[in-house]
Structure formats: structure tokens, C-alpha cells
Symmetry: C2
Subunit: 431 residues, 2 copies
């Protein structure tokens, strides 16, 4: 039977994994798709670089056209990363009627709708399972497995670096800076960790998840983002004491036809399945109207796990080729985008506040909350070592984001308040 | 556009859920499949029975042929349960070129290969996602999401009734009998709970999972089965003390080309993601050579969750109809079945033994283990209230099933031993 030929853009961490799986699992792949898979060309930046995987030197090329314009290549796998240049390469491949599998979340979050449309117009498949939560087949589960249900909420731990950092800070009582250095030494964090620790990476994945889950084009700019770099040991201590675990949670929620999408450090109930997702692991919790609570857990990154998702997409493309039905599985969004405004976004909040330790201080603070109709679920007041300052920690009942933001402003303006040290979203019931 | 017509066999718990979803989610379903879905006939046992869902009386029928031989019906959904009669109905439907979606694990565990072959021969789809772990899209994840990987191990909490019972026994320190009665009152357990509590229901699901995960026809008879009805409060206490949680675990493991499949109460490490799957929830943990650890969590039963899986299968059939590719997705098993023999099956074991409290007793016991080359990871000896009897609890290092069974026999034959009170498989590291 005819071989199917694959071209690879990039031979870094994920590319190496793809070559390894294509080599080691050739028998399973052949059984499933009914013909051999041949790696035909690999775009690299340096032909002579030492590789962790054996690739015939003659397959390597410095010219992108050797892959995307190569008439002998059926499917292009993009694992080079980057956005603007890469977009051009993928558009070129699609125009040349090549199916595309990509692991590129940055690209899909920014140009997903354009690229999917181009694929459909050319009768090509464009699959991107690896772009969200590495080895976890979450996109497929949303599109196929939960095809009949209406998703109302998704919450994801979709960035392994920040989950590693928060887990270590929380379990070993270490500082953010200390754990970040370790993560960088271990290769879990980049030398410039901004994209991970400020929540940008997670936001890209949430834009992709929300687009699929709510059948609505959600852009990266629609995601409210807050990172983890200012989380202190004190915050983690109070979280635990109240029965919560601090996680960087990507959240996408729908009420009727309006949605909200955010990425922010969140105190999540210890009873919630996401609370026990630790270290560099990822998980996506999906709430459906009919199915109820489900969760998908696994490795969010790494060479082989991510490559598993890439090659599973490759198998899907090849099955479609065998059936002659490529380019017909993408379903365009059903709904027009409608984002909730700040007065419609409701949550419980945790606030840690330093106040002048004087008569009436607490009363002034509660007045601010009361004026906005916000009441407390938990209150803790402790004297600090500095005799003139007390620490007040509260968890509110549900408040709108609008009220919460106004409360923060009004608190900062109060004379009795030394500083609002930190504040976070709270999800679920503590102890 | 042409309507697609669906016939339903059965209008019990799951059937009611299917009708509810078809009614409530009609807009989403239409958007995905491009045409309306019409419910054409429903096989019931009693036309006049009160229903929890509104169904036009004229659709109800007592004659199975009104569904499976109805020329106006494209797809038959089987949610009536039962095996022998139901098998005939499904065969009839397939011979009449109707696609079939079933939630019937008993049927698929016993006659899966026959029915799938009949479907393929007739160019029909036969999907059965709902047969394992209710609303969790686990079959699809194994077949598509992890298509490129080689699965080495699956462990599942795939029976909600027993997980509910073990969770309550463990958390509230209640007896098996007490919790079983509550489960029966709540409708979580049948009046005859045998199939659930003796592990038979879970074994059917594991046979289906192992067949798909290992691409090998695994029959129900290939599954070693042990139920939960003899688990005592003492066993649960010791589990906790050693850092383990007692769960009814369905296990399917592969070493090279040989596999083993079992369902038995297992002490699973508190650190394992399955340990925190509580109450009636299900989860399937999948270990792949490339992807590593993944877990799929959700509701294992219930009207709407199970119906979600049924209707998602229905969507898959309809997408295939639109593309004209029905009956071509089933992949026949790649490998011949090879089961491990008892000397190849390795595990750690927990044993709780009552011995005569006399000098040399412990030494006689250890000799039995030593003769089989089995050593201890943990030992605990406590005097009981009865002065002449001591309780010894051990966790062994890995031993073969053959050695373990022989050790059990030899222990029972020792004069110093009053009784081997209980013994269980152990998975992972305790504290």
C-alpha cells in the first residue's frame, strides 16, 4: 500500500518526541492507518547540530519550502513554535493542499479562526490537540466525547510551570523566587519566565478551550489575566487554614448566552478534584449541563507526552485520508461572542489587609463592603509583630467583579488601611 | 435538509435521559450534524406507564420489529439492557442496515467482537461509549486521543456503587452492611447487589477497556474477580495507617505481549490520583509508554451523564452518515490474546493474620514467606483483646500471584495461625 509522507517543521523538544514515536510505534500506527508513515523532510536551523534522536542527515533542510511546497509531502507537522513566520508557513502548506498538525498554542490562540477557515477552503485537516494540556486529549473530548452536551464551565490547570512552582511553595514552604530558580535549573521554566508566570501561556490555552467549548470565537484579548509572581507564603498559609489550595486556574464560564474567561491565582476548595493536581501536571475540569462534573488529567508538557497528541492527530488525518473525508470535520462557531461585563461576573474573594491597629478600624472596613452589599463568609484578625498593624483576612460571599474592584479602590483610600496585601478569587467551599 | 430518524429500545433511566437531551439540546445537535434528529419509535414494556419525560404516546410500541425492522429508522439506540434477547435485536437492526448505539456493557463484554463484525459487514456503525464509565469519554480517548501511544496499564474505578460504599465505610467508619442498605435506599445499589459488590459489573467494563487498550480480544472469563463484601473496618483502618486507600480497582496491565486483567479490592497509595476519587464517581487511569500518566474522571452512571455518552455516539454516527463513511472506523484487534500465568503476575500484598500469641509464632510465619523468596515492606504486630491471639499485619514486597496463593494455603495450614483474616493487592508506595 502507498506510503504517507510527513514533513516536520522543527526538531526541538516536541519534534524529537514525534520522530521517536513515529519510529518506535510504527507497528501500531501501521495497524491503525493501514499503510506506513514516512518522514520525508525536516526543517531545522542547524544541519550539523547534535540530536537526541537519530534522523537521516539527508532529510534535514534549512529551506521551509522543501517541506511546505514539497509535492511528495502529504502532511506537515508544525512543532517549531513562533507566530508570525509560522503562520505564513502553515498558510503556504494549506494552500499547497497539505494537511497540518500543530502543537502551537500561541498561533492557534491568535490565528486559529483564519487558519481553520483556510484549511476548510482547501479541503485540508488542521488539528491542534497538542496545543492545550500536552498529552491530555482534551480538545477531542470537548468536540467528540461531550458533543451532545452543553458545557457551562471549564476550569483548567493548563500551565505546568506555575503548577510546579505553587505546589513546591505550598508543600515545602519555600518562596516564589527560590522555587522559580529551581524550576529554571530543571528546565521546567524558561530563563525569561514571563509568559508562564504572568498567566499569558495559560490564557492562550483558555482562549482555545473556550472557543471550542462554547462554540464562540474567543480571542486572547478577551481573557482577563493575573499571574502568580506576587503570591506570598502568607497567602498560601491562609489558603490552607481556610481549607483551600492556591492554583493558577484558567476559568471559562457561561451563563445563558454570555461568557467570561480568565486566568488568575485562585483559592480552590480542597475537596475539588483540581486541588490535588500537583507538580507539573495539568488537568481540565469540565462541567456540562447533562454530564455534570468531569476531569481530564495528565502531563501538560514534555517531549513524548506532547508528541503523543501530535501523532494521534496525525493518525486522525490519515484515517480521514483513507476515507477521503479530510477538511470536513471542523465545525464553525455556533454563537456570536458575548462577553459578560464586570457587574455580571460573580465570585467569592479572599482579601488580606494590613490595618492600623486602632479602635473602629475594622468597622470602617466592613462599611466599605456593606455599602456594596457584600458580606463575609470568613473573617480572621491577627496582630502582627509590628504593634501598630493588624492583619485582617476575609473571604467574602459572592460579589460582582465590579463591586470587588470598587471595594479594592475604596479600601486603598481609607486612612486606617496600611495596605491591601493581596486578593484572590475563591472557588468552592473551604472547611 | 433530510431528517435523521432514531429508534429507541427501552425507556428506563438512560432512555429517559436520551429523550431529554435530544429535546433540550436540539439546537446544538442540529448545528453539529446539519439536520434535525427525529425520535420515531420507542420500544417499551408498558404503553401506559407514567414517564418522567414527555414522549408522544403514538411513538411507543410493544413490538421490537417496529424499531429494528422499521424502514424509516436510520439509527437504533439500545438502552433496554439484558443480553441474549438484546443481542438478537441488535443483530436484526444491523442486518437491516441500521447503525446502533448501545450503553450495554454486559452485551459488549460477552458479544462485542461478534456484534462489531456484523456491523462492519453491513457497513454500519456500532458505538458503545456509554458502556464504560458512564459520562466519561474514555473509549474515544483510548481509540483516538491516545491512538499513537502504546498503553501499558489501565486502572479503573469503574463501579460507582462499590466506590460509594467504600468511601462511606472509610470516611464515616461504618460497616459494609450499613452502607449497603443506605446505597439501596438511595437507589445507588440494586436490591440484589451481587453484580456490583462482587466485581462482576466492573469486570465487564475492564474486559471492554482491555480489548480496546491492548488491541486484543479480552473476554469476561479472562478477568480475575474478587468483590468487596468481606472488607472489614479493621482492613480500612490499617490501610489508612499505612498510607493507602481501599478501592475496588479494575486493573489491566501489559508486559511485552502478555496481559493480565483483574478486578479486586486494592490498597492504593494515597498519593495516587485514583485515591481521591470518591463517592459514586468513576475514573480511569491510563499509563502510556509515551504519554505517561493520564486520568479521566467523571460520573459513572446516572440518567443524564450516561445519556450524554449515548447521544455523543449518535452525533458521531450522524457525522459519519453526512460523510458517507459509516462502518469503517472499527479496527479489528492487532494482537492474539496472550494472558500472563500466575507466576508472571507480580504485586505487593497486604495480609492481616490472627496468630496464637506464643514464642516462635512469628518466626514460623516469616519462614513461609522466606521459602517463597518473599520479603516484607511493612510489619505491624498488635495484641488483641483476646489474650491468646495477636494480630499481625504485613505488606510484602512484590511477589508473584503463584507464590502469594501458595503462601496463603501454607499459612492456613500452620498450627500457630488462627486465621488469615484478609488479604489484598497493594498498588504504589504508602507512607
Amino acid at each position: 500500500m502507498k506510503k504517507i509522507s510527513v514533513g516536520l517543521l522543527g526538531l526541538g523538544t516536541v519534534g524529537t518526541g514525534v520522530v521517536t514515536i513515529l519510529t518506535n510505534h510504527q507497528d501500531k500506527l501501521m495497524h491503525q492507518v493501514g499503510c506506513p508513515i514516512e518522514l520525508r523532510k525536516v526543517l531545522v536551523q542547524d544541519i550539523n547540530k547534535d540530536r537526541l534522536v537519530e534522523v537521516d542527515q539527508s532529510l534535514l533542510t534549512l529551506e521551509v519550502d522543501d517541506v511546505v511546497c514539497n509535492p511528495e509531502i502529504d502532511i506537515v507537522i508544525e512543532v517549531m513554535g513562533g507566530v508570525e513566520e509560522t503562520r505564513k508557513h502553515i498558510l503556504a502548506a494549506l494552500k499547497n493542499k497539505k494537511h497540518v498538525v500543530t502543537a502551537n498554542k500561541d498561533l492557534m490562540a491568535l490565528y486559529g479562526p483564519e487558519l481553520l477557515m483556510e484549511a476548510t477552503n482547501n479541503g485540508c485537516d488542521l488539528f491542534y490537540e497538542a496545543s492545550v494540556a500536552g498529552g491530555i486529549p482534551i480538545l477531542r473530548s470537548l468536540v467528540d466525547g461531550l458533543a451532545s452536551d452543553r458545557i457551562t464551565k471549564m476550569m483548567g490547570i493548563v500551565n505546568g510551570t506555575t503548577n510546579f512552582i505553587l505546589t513546591k511553595m505550598s508543600k515545602d514552604k519555600r518562596t516564589y523566587e527560590d522555587v522559580l530558580s529551581e524550576a529554571q535549573r530543571l528546565g521546567y521554566a524558561e530563563s525569561d519566565p514571563t509568559s508562564d508566570v504572568e498567566g499569558i501561556d495559560a490564557a492562550r490555552k483558555m482562549a482555545i478551550l473556550a472557543t471550542l467549548g462554547f462554540s464562540m470565537n474567543i480571542a486572547l484579548d478577551d481573557v482577563r489575566i493575573k499571574g502568580i509572581s506576587t503570591i506570598s507564603e502568607e497567602d498560601l498559609d491562609y489558603s490552607k487554614r481556610f481549607g483551600y489550595t492556591m492554583k493558577l486556574i484558567g476559568m471559562a464560564a457561561r451563563d445563558g448566552d454570555r461568557v467570561e474567561v480568565s486566568v488568575e491565582p485562585t483559592l480552590i476548595s480542597d475537596h475539588h478534584p483540581l486541588a490535588s493536581v500537583n507538580d507539573e501536571y495539568n488537568a481540565v475540569y469540565v462541567l456540562g449541563e447533562a454530564v455534570g462534573e468531569t476531569m481530564f488529567y495528565g502531563p501538560g508538557a514534555g517531549s513524548l507526552p506532547t508528541a503523543t497528541a501530535v501523532v494521534s492527530d496525525l493518525v486522525a488525518v490519515m484515517k480521514n485520508m483513507r476515507l477521503g473525508v479530510n477538511g470536513r470535520s471542523a465545525v464553525s462557531p455556533q454563537f456570536e461572542k458575548k462577553l459578560k461585563v464586570a457587574s455580571e461576573i460573580k465570585s467569592k474573594y479572599f482579601l488580606r489587609i494590613h490595618v492600623q491597629d486602632q479602635v473602629g478600624a475594622f468597622s470602617k472596613i466592613t462599611t466599605v463592603f456593606t455599602n456594596h452589599g457584600v458580606s463575609f463568609e470568613k473573617i480572621l484578625q491577627l496582630p502582627l509583630n509590628d504593634k501598630n498593624i493588624a492583619e485582617i483576612v476575609v473571604v467574602t460571599h459572592k460579589a460582582s467583579l465590579k463591586d470587588y474592584e470598587e471595594i479594592l479602590q475604596e479600601l486603598e483610600a481609607l486612612e486606617v488601611i496600611h495596605q491591601v496585601k493581596s486578593s484572590y478569587r475563591v472557588e468552592g467551599e473551604g472547611m
